[in-house]
Amino acid sequence: MRRTRRLFHLDPLSRQLARREMRDELAFHVEERIAQLTALGMTPDEARAEAIRRLGQTWDEAERHLGDSAKLKERRLNVRERLREFGDDIRYAVRGLAARPGFTAIAVLTLGIGIGANTAIYSAVDALLLRSLPFPEPGRLLDIVQTSGADGDAPWSYPKYAFFRDAQRSYASLALHRTTQTILTGTDPERVLTEEVTTQYLSALGLRVAQGGDFPLELDSGPGARRVAIISDALWQRRFNGDPGVVGKSLSLNNEPWEIIGVLSPGFRGISGRAEALVNLSARSAEGLNEPWSMEFSLIGRLRDSVTVAQAVTEAELIGPRIYEAFPAAGGGLTTSKAPEKWTAAARPLDAIRVASGLRRSLLVLFGAVAMVLLIACVNLANLLVARAVARKQEIAVRLALGAGRARLVRLLVMESLVLALCGGVASLLVAFVGTRVLSTINPQETLRVQGLEGGIGAIGFEGIRLDASALAFTFIVTVAVGLLFGLAPALGATRPSLVADLKDGSSGSGTGRRIGASRRALVVAEVALALVLLAGSGLMIRSLGRLLSVDPGFDARDVLTLRLSIPQGVLAPDSMPGFYEQLLSEIRGVPGVAEVALADCPPLSASCNGTIMTRADQPRSATGNAMVGVHWVSANWFGTMRIPLKRGRMFSEADRLGGPKVVLINEAAARQYFAGEDPVGKRVAVYQGGFHTGAEIIGIVGDVRFGTIDSTARPDTYISYAQSRQPRMMVFARTTGDPSAMAPAVRGAVRRIAPQAPVFDIRSMPARVVMASAQTRLSAVLLGFFAAVALSLAVMGIYGVLSFAVAQRTGEIGIRVALGAERGRVIALILKDGVRLALVGLTIGLLAALALTRVLRSMLFEVTTTDPLTYVGMASVLGLAVIAASWIPARRAARVDPVIALRKG
């Protein structure tokens, strides 16, 4: 039996048996020996020690001698033994760390910040870029757009959607959706977001209602269908107190009754993430739905089981051109500037458009930056540990000589760095917790839009940023990786088996000392290089921010308070609107502290203003083509209130009102574009909005105002007097004598007195809007700046550490130099030269790396190139000076070396 077993090599079971037998045998032997020795008068402890000594050095070694390599492997699997060793290692590590509280505190702090920042940014990356969409089988969901190579993507009109729907074979369900602002009318009017959708919206997303039913399919049969709504769980709780009989009740939106047919489940608030109700878009009138050239709706589809994404993409490309054959001419010819023949359709995974590409880029840049900070922190800790290992090299050499295995020693040393890393990991949770909290409370929808980063799915937002299991797993993995990263190299270096020299002489001038010195120098060079990359990146962002802040937006934002009100349909007769607004203005003007009040329909720097085609009346339409202008409804005093200068001609006057000759003001950009070299004042133009397509006279030219993002120059704009054209959504601009935000309640009160049924929203001071317009750049600059500052201080610490150590090592040599008459200045120069050399190598490498890496910032920068020489020279000088400062202290210490003491010591 045994023979056969041997013949076929021991199978695992019998090998285990052999192992156990061997252990039992040894245990029996040791017990017998102990009994014998105690009988001879030894104490049990002495007897046990002696019995084991006779087996060899240790039990372990005895077993190792006896076991073949297969058995050795099994020994490693012995859990109890391993745990005991593990416990020993941890105790040793903790003792070692506790003995050096200063070092430990710095290391834990550095790691805490480094890992915490990484976790926080990772949480954002996870929530915004990685986490799967909150719908079943998100990979089967596609977003379908109209697209043209030159003009980008555009949403759908209902007729074109219907064509696509009937032509396609790929989708199990298709749905249009559009997010709109609606007023929830009733006792306490409230402005809410709703989504107009087609009936298959929920089934396309793979969702069901929590109560009631889904939209019945027959609603899609044509325009003018009955009005039904599915409300959000939040709205159900808030407005209906969770009434179980809410289905069948009526919801008043824009003063129209909508029948509630269902309630959504708590987690879901539409693709926008903020909708309070879903309503059927088929409730629109035929005019509202059947305009083929409107571009209003987004389209999603869920694939049939048998269809691949690639097939659906191809199908969309094939159907696209047919749609434009079916709708050859722009309907009214006026709502689009796009030439139809270039257009087609494109399908892409919904996941691909989850966030705007600019946001994706910013996040990844930040992720890269924090990773770099962590890398520097690791380099620094590796540096400190190398120094420690050098200090302990005698201890290590003794242990090696006594027969401790190198693997065991490396494990011991790595355990120390792992314990350190885990402490840092725990500390980092605090940083990460605060970081994720801050990130998740950023209300980015508005911020992103005014930065031109709008887009993506609203349901994927910053609110999703949290410290969840995935973030904790990330923290743990990073922590362990970091512990190994900065622990393994020094441990391997320190236990290199050639330390006989170290045993013989503990002096630091030996070959090993120099080798470790070289590796520390390399680490410092790496640190300086990494720090320069971060400094350069943050420098570029800060320069950008500076440029942004010095942009003249074309108006004076100081002391201006803005607020919006929306007047529900039917509350005011359209023609009485100018009168209503005049009444409103005089009421607000009466509020103490308000100096001037004006109206405009859209605030500057909001990137959400309205525009249309404008043509010159004295030229054929083809001369100006389909050039667009922004169209703004303003009160006559808006320019004065906002301190926007009149360049030529005259402002609006009392006479420019409904029924009078139609007049417009244009800005300088429009004057340049439409009337290059001519005087526009007195010329006539057609503006295809507000009833001005029949022609209007240009009465004056005003200064350019940035209505878009702050980093884009003003586009051509035209202004219409609100007194001459109805516009139900006006914004109030009040110039105050004090802090505008403090005036908000009083102004809101004045509005309520005049229009209790019109909800007031979007109250914000104009300076706050300006700040918001650069918020994303500011956030990037602040975060990158912070990371760069951490990197800089770490690099300085690294240099200081290495040079201090070098000075300590060379005390003897310096003593001799001083004894031989070297001047203090020479000694200082000697050490400084060392530091400067390290810095120069690091700076050169860092400069090259920065030039290569900062290119990813290009699209995030404003009026600064990624090779901006000032930034590079500036940041390199900052870093260089910091390094010299860090070298100065050890250099001074070297100069003060007392030759007598130094020589005696050496």
């Binding site: 041997r6 037998e21 061997m22 039992d24 045998e25 040894l26 029996f28 032997h29 017998e32 020996r33 019995a51 006779r54 087996l55 060899g56 070694e61 005895a62 001698h65 006896l66």
Partner: protein
Amino acid sequence: MADSPPLLKGTLDVLVLKALSWGPMHGFEIVGWLEQRSSGSVDVDDGALYYALHRMEERGLIESEWRLTGNNRKARYYRMRAAGRAHLKSEGASLERYARALADILALRPS
């Protein structure tokens, strides 16, 4: 162990086989037997003993089985096999010759 001479290579195997030629023994008995018969001048490293036992078992010189000792404890008893007896005969003889030669040489005195 420190005050007794180290065993020559190959010696331990022969000594163990010799002990087992008296009958089956467990490891601790073998140690005791050797110490007793040599009046303490042969001091076997315990670890080395078990190493030798396991090696010889692998080579088929001896075999082992678990049995109860006199005071009812389980111990692994080793027993000589035929190959072991042959090994003891040849190796024992050559060791004896070697020891005699060594003794003769050491007895020489310079003349």
